[in-house]
Symmetry: C2
Subunit: 305 residues, 2 copies
Amino acid sequence: MAKFEITMLGCGSGIPTAKHMTSAQIVNINERLFLVDCGEGTQTQIWKYRVKLTNLDAIFISHMHGDHFFGLIPLLSSIGLMLARTEDLHIYMPIVMVEPIQYDLDKYCYLPYKVILHGIDTTAREVLYENSTMTVESIPLEHKTPCMGFLFKEKPKANILLPEKCKEYGINCTEFRKIKEGADYITPDGRTIPNSELTKPSDYIPKSYAYCSDTSYCPALAEQIHGVDLLYHEATFVESEKDMAATAGHSTASQAADIALRANAKQLAIGHYSIRYNDEDELLAEAKSVFSNTVATQEGMVISI
Amino acid sequence: MAKFEITMLGCGSGIPTAKHMTSAQIVNINERLFLVDCGEGTQTQIWKYRVKLTNLDAIFISHMHGDHFFGLIPLLSSIGLMLARTEDLHIYMPIVMVEPIQYDLDKYCYLPYKVILHGIDTTAREVLYENSTMTVESIPLEHKTPCMGFLFKEKPKANILLPEKCKEYGINCTEFRKIKEGADYITPDGRTIPNSELTKPSDYIPKSYAYCSDTSYCPALAEQIHGVDLLYHEATFVESEKDMAATAGHSTASQAADIALRANAKQLAIGHYSIRYNDEDELLAEAKSVFSNTVATQEGMVISI
């Protein structure tokens, strides 16, 4: 079975504390790694939880608030020092961040690899990253500064060849790849055999993960992530502080659960807890009362899809 | 007795690891706090060791390598968020750092207090900070980038009044402060009573602490810190790697101890350990063989002078 798992590195908000580090996650899809957000101390969490950064494919930063990126320059610096990476590293971030991050790179870092910063228009939905098996799309979010979420989505698997049919038409194995990708087959005497006769669709259901932080309550978001297997949605406050949440551009645990419900998500993971809470009991109970399959993320937690 | 203690927050070098955080120390002199260097995660260490930052007087940054300042912007940001400081905060750093740090402050921070960056010529010895009881002087160091150490020094205590002499000359108590500060006394009939007749020198020996990191072996340094009560000197490598130390602008444990010996320091604290060492046994043994009163710093260690 294909690996698709998320390691939580930081589940708090605002500042790192004894209980929670600030936002960072590793998304591992078949041993290709993606870092989502990078609060201060993310590299320490990466070493602590033995994440192997040699397979780091790309980094995605949601917005320019310190608790989501203060660990980026230190991490890039350490990757150069420790891993002697030489491969280019692509980082996707709101347009507004590109100039200052490039400035810091130029001033503070001496890297043996090239960092390519992609400035993203956070108001548009677009495919940021694509490889042969998956895509990462941006999700416009509503926050106090340009902000986006990220949708990690496997591609549908290729059709499955029907071997007895291929044999029947005497098809050479050199044709198989094209047919799996959807091509019809032309027999030596010029007849067209439609693809649907030679293959059946894969019954594999592509998996998907949506990271939505930071954002105020935004019901329209549900459409963008409809049917997602796992939704990470910020739940900075409890519902009784929803006015404060709205003012600060954040969501409550109930609101996060409401989005999961509307999106018909299979599972909800909450995080980005305000430092005012001693634990997550109330936030979790509140979310579960709306959407039962909810988990309160903790540092080191790994969720497999 | 006056408080003069140093809390070690980060004793490693290069990158923060599971064993050691990067450079940072708190110098507490009579509950006025000074932060020296600020590697990534310094704020987490500050909260962990329950340092009360409300009394933070000033910050000193030795040089522009990430393991000595990557935690600065995050810390300044958190001080604004958590402590609601309104008082100006003065930070002393090599001239070359002022422009980029000011840039980062402008781009990333929204502070309710003013940060004043002082760009220091690291090739000159100068008094950076002074209050009624102490001074902080820069110490030129030899490193691969402009770098300075810091000498924290109590001022000599005022002379002690001789009460029977004051009584004999009928001196009013309103004159006492001036006399303690060294003034002679003029009697109502115009006679001058020399200060030496009215006071005796305090027998209090002012304490001092020198922070020297990062630096290559530099025997001339000993003169600058002669007689210091406690010397923190980097000991990145063991003596068998002294060539590498020299190339990298660092010192060995033996060299650190040699400086302590030449400076006639009372105690040596070593740190800034290379990540290549699993523990500090060899570094400490090596330093002790040259200068016995040596301690290997660890995070959370507090040294009182």
